[in-house]
Symmetry: C2
Subunit: 463 residues, 2 copies
């Protein structure tokens, strides 16, 4: 029965894109206090979309943590496929900040079509991919009046800030999300036209390392040479955490890491991947960095690493200010791989910076958010339903890859709810996630909807 | 004849302070493009003050460099003391940025009197001290109708951004500033009630070190481990430039340094200075840093050093953004001591960072501004006139110290014009120069005016 739905989706495709543009115009930047209202508007837009598709019991679920009020979850369901499996569809409607604004060719919240792509913050991560879910459900319900499976939809607004709200909801109201399989479309295809399932994600800890020196900002002429400089101290600590060969020098950092199997590594080696192409066209740097004894795919999929994202403090305006700031901060994250635990890694890191902290400096480490690394099983009927669906749409065998990023809630689905999870994403490697000029290839938006329709149909046939 | 002028200054002191407050209300932040108009307003205020005092030929002199239009100089003169020496009075009307604003107890451009101090950005550096010069001239001219010496006044608006405009003016129109001695009040007293002349200043180079990695911002999940991180690279370079023991590891950095004489070091040792007091009450850090084989006074007066002032780039908002920025910058300055040349130090530094630049990173070093280190002679009649003047006002012997900061133009006065320069400043060590809650001790404002009146009188007696 998916043929009628696929036909509907093709016929209505242009409208689906216009609706997506409306959603992309809402700057739902979850980390920015000034966008709280926009984030809620996006939630309501999604709820309306679910209602329009024919979902039932659609509602916003408020979230909050000990420290702050959170952004709402959007929930919807359709549970009339008696005896059929239940599918949990997950996506997120929040987006990363758009800075640096000056590097966007078109404004981040004014979606623009160019060369078969739609450019906007959130186009692929994850508004566009989440909207595929909504539109696949609509296509089935509007043509068949029914779904081949039971469906629960949960869309969060805090994925880009660690997803604490949904994590708490899963802990406390896990039953609401009870399902046989979860479908997440927030990953990418390994190459254009190559259907891809992601079977592993790195975890992460996102931290702030604050260094305090003098009691107040000081004049570097008068005090330079005797007063501690927090930026110099942070630099000295960062250089000791991560060596130039990419090795992380925190004691015990690599303890317990579970390496990929030989079979998985062999499969990775057969993927169409050229490190020089990747360097030139994806990264664009003069050289790649990191642990050169590992392949680039290992370095980004199955090896932990550390990055610095920004160093607030001091003087960052144009020109010169000769200040020794009283304090400075580094936003530092670590990507974790299976075998590592966020809280343990954070503890080792916090202990290490205390140990290497330069004279005259006091450090404070804060854990902003974290997510567990995961590897999902590939040996089940749901994964086969996904590969079958994509084979029909793309006419090709699916490849299994891992992702270097984190989708914190996937770990909770797998560990807390015991729900097998299918990570079927339709982004492309050059979609500029988290960067200026984020885009979504429109052909993949449409192929994604079709793949999801066929996947749900396939899951409906699972006994 | 200075007694009448001193009497006038005492009588009019309250008005002088009110005028200073007016000047302090003008946010003449020379580094900030948005304050160009305010900087000019401050220049006009100073010009009006000079006219009001009775100076002649008062005018704004436009400055410009190859790259930008500069802030104006203010010039005034009084040249009717035939046969008497000519004194060049120098000050600056521009100020440092006031950030971080939230740490000010009263707003930086709304001067407030508390506990005998006036709090505002520029209170002591240098509007308050420059205004002492203007008011000393007024006091003499309004009571005697004449000055004991010939006077030229030059007040610049770019001291906090390297003083390129006045440097070019000195090179091209040095004759306009021809004088027998220059008086600069932009330094501090070694301790409250201890009259102080500054006889040496460190030079500086203020630079930006830019590190470029990927062609665009990248998602740290997807690319972390293989893509170069400019912040990590900057940290690794900074850690190699400055070791934890304070040593600067740039090859040849210390070559040619002229150490202070044994007599000067002995004199420093006899100053009322307690490193523990300094650590606790001036710096407020848990420890002091730097080259511990040198005393704190040596470390800040006669040893070169390096500081990092800010590291723009990446994500510095609240919360988390998992970005590997395409580029990041460190604002890095070096303080130089006699025997070092700014352009040579910059060349060594630029060469060193090229050499240690991590894989995948391209560096660019930019010299924002520079100033030569200087040591001035203490063995002349003008210095004696200054110490005599301060002895009368403070009832104490003057101490000779150096300053760790830079007043770029002093090097030009000494080197280019061959003018002996007297650095008679009335700031206090806790005046928070370049920091929040900058202040000027009002008693010192008044004692400064009186000292300048007596100094000019004393110079008038020099044959």
């Amino acid at each position: 029965m998916s043929e009628a739905a696929v036909g509907y989706a093709r016929e209505q495709g242009a409208r689906f894109v216009e609706e997506l543009k409306e959603l992309l115009r809402i700057p739902s930047v979850s980390t920015a206090p000034e966008h709280v209202g926009d984030v809620r508007r996006a939630a309501e837009f999604v709820a309306d979309g679910l209602r329009g598709a024919g979902l039932e019991n659609v509602r916003l679920i408020e979230t909050s943590t000990a420290v702050r009020k959170g952004h709402p979850l959007v929930y919807g369901e359709w549970l009339h496929a008696a005896g059929k499996p239940t599918v949990l569809l997950y996506g997120h409607y929040d987006v990363q900040p758009a800075e640096p604004l000056e590097e966007w060719k078109s404004p981040p919240f004014e979606p623009e079509e160019r060369d078969g792509n739609i450019y906007a913050r959130g186009a692929v991560d994850d508004k566009g991919q989440m909207w595929m879910h909504v539109k696949a459900l609509e296509s089935l319900l509007k043509t068949d009046g029914t779904l081949p499976v039971n469906v629960r939809v949960i869309v969060e607004g805090e994925e880009e800030v660690g997803g604490e709200g949904i994590a708490a909801f899963v802990r406390e109201h896990g039953d609401t999300l009870k399902a046989d399989v979860a479908l997440v479309s927030d990953t990418e295809m390994f190459a254009p036209d190559l259907p891809t399932l992601c079977v592993g994600l790195r975890g992460m800890i996102y931290t702030e390392l604050e260094a305090k020196g003098a009691a107040t900002d000081l004049h570097s002429g008068m005090y330079g040479g005797a007063a501690p400089n927090p930026f110099v101290a942070l630099a000295q600590m960062i250089a000791q955490i991560k060596r130039e060969d990419g090795h992380i020098a925190i004691p015990g950092f690599y303890d317990g890491i579970e390496d990929p199997t030989k079979a998985e590594l062999d499969a990775w080696r057969s993927l169409p991947f050229d490190e020089e192409e990747y360097r030139r066209h994806e990264v664009g740097s003069t050289e790649l960095t990191g642990e050169t004894m590992f392949s680039v795919l290992e370095r980004t999929w199955s090896r932990p690493t550390m990055d610095v994202h920004g160093m607030p403090g001091g003087f960052i305006g144009a020109g010169a200010k000769t200040v020794i700031p009283a304090k400075a901060t580094a936003k530092i994250s670590f990507r974790l791989v299976p075998g590592m635990k966020p809280e343990e890694t954070f503890a080792k890191y916090a202990e290490f910076v205390e140990e290497i902290c330069p004279r005259g400096i006091q450090v404070k480490t804060t854990l902003i958010h974290s997510g567990e690394p995961i590897v999902v099983s590939t040996d089940n009927a749901y994964v086969r339903a996904a590969t079958d669906a994509m084979a029909k749409v793309f006419g090709k065998e699916t490849v299994f890859v891992r992702g270097g990023g984190s989708i914190p809630i996937v770990g909770d689905f797998v560990r807390q709810l015991g729900t097998p999870t299918v990570l079927m994403g339709f982004g492309l490697p050059d979609d500029n996630l988290h960067a200026p000029n984020e885009k979504f290839h429109l052909a993949n938006f449409h192929r994604g909807i079709e793949s999801i329709v066929r996947f749900l149909d396939g899951v409906g046939a699972v006994n």
